[in-house]
Subunit: 210 residues, 2 copies
Amino acid sequence: MSKKPDIEKNESTEEKIKEAARAVFTRKGYAATRTRDIAEESGYNLALINYYFRSKEKLYDIIMLEHLQTFLHSIMDILNDADTTLFQKIEVLVGHYIDMLIKNPALPLFIINAVNADPDKLITGIGADKIHQENLVIVKQWKEVAAAKKLAIHPVHIMMNMVSLTIFPFMGSPLIRNRTKLSIEEFNALMLERKKLIPVWIKAILNAEV
Amino acid sequence: MSKKPDIEKNESTEEKIKEAARAVFTRKGYAATRTRDIAEESGYNLALINYYFRSKEKLYDIIMLEHLQTFLHSIMDILNDADTTLFQKIEVLVGHYIDMLIKNPALPLFIINAVNADPDKLITGIGADKIHQENLVIVKQWKEVAAAKKLAIHPVHIMMNMVSLTIFPFMGSPLIRNRTKLSIEEFNALMLERKKLIPVWIKAILNAEV
DNA sequence: GTCTATATACGGATAGAC
DNA sequence: GTCTATCCGTATATAGAC
């Protein structure tokens, strides 16, 4: 056996601080979190934050990029899958995001605020160039469908609809839950329903008379 | 004529500071704005902020409540209008909000962040009690439609859909505009299209086979 | 690596001159 | 009412002991 201690399951101090930072930054945003909050949440001393991460901002950047990665993870594979139809992609995409958002409901607000605070930083970090490729499989498939249906509406409407219907309820959940008196479990159950519903609705929207 | 000076069109110092505060708070949020930013934006000195508003937080509260009022202004009248049908209400509501959001696109993010930072403060300030009344005209109308259509889906889905489709694109606009290379004018034109489209889509959703 | 103590900077607020 | 100068708490960051 190696010399690694059998308390190996405990993460390193560095990792614990990062987790604490993720928790606090995600909840309160950059400006409102104090390094002291992170230290307290981690169980370690304030000085260790700088020892491991040099500065609050560097630590924040790490968390931000990780969140971005979580948010975009595997989406390119879905968008570029030659073996699925457009509507299958929509189903997979919506399902993927709802599962992810139930685990991580604060993510969209965090990311939108980050983009708002410093658009360039995020948008370049996004690897966004790749995403806008005109030769993504989904874009080609979309063009075929649009041509077949002789759609008069701008394609970004459909994209916005899909994203809006999927993501917004999570951003509004504090207000929605307060107004509706739904528990978190009931709310999440509704979100899971939307995995089936949103693709159906998107189809209905595409077929709607305008 | 009165003794008022003919430079009357210039607002008072107090009002100018409030406008500056509105601009900065709305753009950067509470924690990230410094009173010095507001002073600079207003053209006046830092000390005057405290002279007129006592503290950063009191000034923020004023801005926040004004924004909330803008956001909810006249919505109760629409919701409670006995002379319009349910779908007319949806049309009016969506149109009202899109017009308002084109003028004030940063509002939803500001409000959601405010709710997030301090749920109780906002939710009580909202006069939220009134909004949840079961005897609003729109609620009654909704129940009739739901009964007639024997809808299997939870009514909050429909509410979430309407709000999501209307509001989210504005919150995501920095990212959307970057990805699509749309100008602000083009983006706003799309939003205006949605005044007609969203009600149609809501109907389509209501009639969709599930 | 982890702590305590401290340097240094920044931001909100006020005193006091004009 | 408006300004300059300054106070003082708080937050980030670092020095240095263990």
